[in-house]
């Protein structure tokens, strides 16, 4: 069945609120008390069995956070968040032991199966399900990582892939060296909050010259009520190494808004390449704009070495509010940054997303392709910065931001900042905003497609440049996701 019809068929099977990951899982949880203070920070650190320096680092972040105010410049509106009315730590009761698939609560395994996340390591290794992609997964449930698959196989190649809590215990020297080196504790309000209370996340270390033998992936799931999720991801690619990493996110449907404030730091040394893909499908709220995730995320990559490359690809379909600017600091000479983005908003979603390309080294280059699709009553903003500093001679950037509007109650906005501080910078920026033309829809309908099929087809054509950047394993699923997100947007 072609993808479009599959999309439509799938759409028809889901309920009015269109969100198929909205179920809850009943698991016994351990929680810290509500609210945030130094004791909570100590509690989290102690739960994780962290070294003393880590606790100090967190407390430092906490104190800085207390002195900061929430940013207001983004084009998003929401009631003030009461940070004292949240849980900052929630973990399944049985998750604190050793982590292999056999030890994981069967309820949890069932949940991941329902989400379509491949945790069946043995079966795949044994060749039972050979059609499943070979992807190593770190599954994060509320505040903690519950299992990481394929660890042994990766270890043979020298790749470390584990939860960041485990990394703090097993590889403290690596964490200490790199944590906060790209996104400092006081970088911004949400990054400071994350630095104080992050409970888990993924850690990847790829040694010199190693090409990571499989896709790495983290699957984030918010389950518990009134709980913030604050994960921290740290990926280090040593000289000449390569890694491709994908994160997926879902959450149950709830009337309340839930906070997700993650920090991702990437470090690419000489000749290394990191490809980071996100398929973000947090619960977007219902059709009246009630509930949904507030997604305030800081993602930044540091092309620290010469000829290094960091590529961000994101497909943003979920969340009530998205505030997210995956960026590249192009420090190493000849380094390259890429940002490919699809942001789909429907209902009352608000998206303010984009990137920063900071050119510091010589002959650095960057490329930004952003596709925003606004439907329903949503607001969809691209906000981006391209800057070449005085000494960044030979900096190159190409930016294309295209927005598509479906319906006349939504908004699409483009706010680029282009700063060339030396003459050899060569920047090109173009942006367009348009709607799906009636003529094109009629043409497709004349060939037998229904209006919804036609919209899905045209939209998939519109975003194709970006979809091509996703790892093959996730392409079909993502195409479907985009179709589902736009369900109900025409007619």
């Amino acid at each position: 069945m072609p993808a479009v019809q599959e999309t439509v068929a799938q759409v028809k099977t889901i309920d009015v609120d269109q969100y198929k990951y909205g179920f809850e899982t009943d698991i016994e949880m351990v929680k810290a008390p509500k609210g945030l203070n130094e004791d909570i920070v100590r509690f989290i650190s102690e739960k994780k069995g962290e070294p003393a320096w880590m606790l100090e680092w967190r407390l430092d972040a906490y104190r800085r956070w207390r002195a900061m105010t929430e940013p207001t410049w983004a084009k998003v509106e929401y009631p003030k968040i009461d940070f004292e009315d949240l849980y900052y730590y929630a973990a399944p009761r049985n998750s604190e032991g050793p982590k292999s698939l056999a030890d994981v609560d069967p309820e949890l395994l069932k949940m991941y199966e329902r989400l379509g996340v491949p945790l069946q390591e043995q079966e795949i290794l044994a060749g039972v399900k050979s059609d499943k992609p070979r992807v190593a997964v770190d599954a994060v449930f509320d505040s903690v990582s519950v299992v990481t698959t394929f660890k042994d196989e990766l270890a043979k190649a020298g790749v470390i892939f584990c939860s960041i809590s485990e990394a703090l215990r097993e590889h403290p020297e690596l964490v200490k060296k790199y944590l906060g080196s790209v996104v400092p504790q006081s970088d911004n309000y949400y990054a400071a909050l994350n630095s104080a209370v992050f409970s888990d996340g993924s850690f990847v270390y790829v040694p010199e010259g190693v090409r990571c033998p499989m896709e790495l992936s983290t699957y984030f799931r918010i389950n518990e009520r009134e709980t913030g999720q604050f994960e921290r991801t740290l990926i280090i690619a040593e000289k000449g190494s390569y890694v491709s990493y994908l994160e997926g996110c879902t959450a149950p449907m709830r009337d309340e808004n839930q906070l997700h404030a993650a920090v991702v730091e990437l470090i690419a040394l000489d000749d290394a390449e990191i490809k980071y893909s996100t398929v973000q499908n947090w619960y977007p709220g219902d059709k009246n704009g009630k509930g949904g995730i507030y997604n305030f995320v800081t993602k930044r990559g540091d092309c620290r070495g010469r000829n290094s490359k960091i590529s961000w690809t994101q497909v943003e379909t979920g969340s009530a509010i998205t505030w997210k600017y995956p960026s590249c600091i192009l420090r190493g000479d000849n380094s390259r940054g890429e940002f490919y983005s699809i942001a789909v908003s429907n209902g009352y979603q608000q998206v303010d997303s984009g990137t920063k390309m900071i050119h510091l080294g010589k002959n650095t280059s960057s490329r930004i392709i952003s596709k925003g699709i606004a439907a329903g009553f949503s607001q969809n903003t691209y906000r981006g910065l391209v800057s070449a500093h005085r000494k960044a001679t030979g900096a190159r950037n190409f930016t294309a931001c295209d927005s598509l509007l479906i319906g006349d109650k939504c908004g699409a906005h483009t706010v680029p900042y282009i700063e060339a501080k030396n003459s050899s910078a060569h920047f090109e920026h173009e942006a367009t905003t348009s709607k799906i033309s009636d003529d094109m829809l009629f043409y497709c309908q004349q060939r037998g497609l229904s209006e919804e099929e036609a919209v899905a087809l045209v939209v998939n054509g519109f975003v194709r440049d970006v979809l091509q950047q996703l790892p093959m394993e996730f392409l079909a699923e993502t195409q479907k996701l985009i179709g589902i997100s736009l369900e109900g947007s025409v007619g």
Partner: protein, 442 residues
Amino acid sequence: MDATAAVSEKAGRGMTVQVLSTKAEQAILSSFEANAAKLPGGAAVAALRQAAMGAFASKGLPSRRVEDFKYTDLKANVKDVLPLATGGAAVDAATAFGAHFGPEFAANAVVFADGRGVAAAGGATLLASVLGQSPGWVEAALSDTALSASADLLLNTALFTDGAVIDISAGAEVADPIVLVASAKDNAMTALRHVIRVGAGAKVTIVEVDRARQGVGLRQSSALTQMVVGDGAEVVHIKVVETNKGSLHLGHWQVNLGANVTYKPFQVTVGEGLVRNGLNVLFNGQHSTFDYGAASVVHGTGHADSTLIVDHKVPHCTSRELFKTVLDDQARAVFQGRVIVRPDAQKTDGKQMAQALMLSPDAEFDSKPELEIYADDVVCGHGSTVAEIDPDLVFYCTSRGIPTAVARALLIESFIGEAIDKVEHEGLRQALSGIARDSLTA
């Protein structure tokens, strides 16, 4: 309540932190207080000025924290304030114009010497004299609340000493351009306010010239033009700003367009001073066209900022923007262009292009083309490029026997010429080309 009281009261309530913290801000306030009694207008205008200065006092000069002044931080850059000129010796038009405008322009020119119009001419009367007679529409225009949003505009309302009032009646076709020329003695500040009304179906070309010549003393000038264009009218609106090192020009045009209007503004900025040219255009009637062009050539530590807000409030309108800048030495240019398409403004067609040519490694160009769109059936786009002179093109020219320097000059001129070619009036295009060319060879 006087302005100082407004400040202290605000501070007393703890609402505003550290306003009027700089020497320049204090000096502006003192200058206002010293001159308030001399400024033209009756009680209503005086109250308007008072309120504007009060509002300015609570805001202070805009710093980079004010989004619209992100790249042009007046708080940091305006260190001193020159004394306000409230009238002085007459200057002849030819001197005020400079070499490039032919004598034919002088006939229709109103010269403002040291902040006061010398004589009415070419259909323009003087604001200071009109205010005495109190025609309602001029005073109503002065108190337009759209002008109280930004501190640089409040400053003009508080301080303007004169300006032109141009009232083109419906259907009139004014053959010769009406020219407004500002000139001033060295080391003075001027503030002019022009109020223009173009009747339905009328055709007119209006030119504003503000020159601070190289080698002469410093100038600080504020010039605010308000224009309402009636249905079916065609307006060409030109501005030339020449500044020298250390000088400051704060210009702003506030324009309301009726239906079926063609409005073609063009702005040329050259020199080494600090220039801010704001332009807000509001489409009030359908099927109108806004066709903007700008060319700037900036040298030394010059800083030229063009900030546009084009507000498509109604359907079926077209906006075009072409901005070109050539930057040498440590010069910096800023282009901010926001296009807003309101929910009902279907069939809007908006295009924007901003291009910088960098001649020196230390030049800087900051560009922020912005789209804010709430209607779905629109075609909008923008582009922005930054580059050096294309070495391949230079090589191509030299391989055909053209010396490198000539080839570069040729390419730079053709770059800027693409914008200036938008000006259809032969004499004006020649004048603008001449000004740009002089500046390129300076």
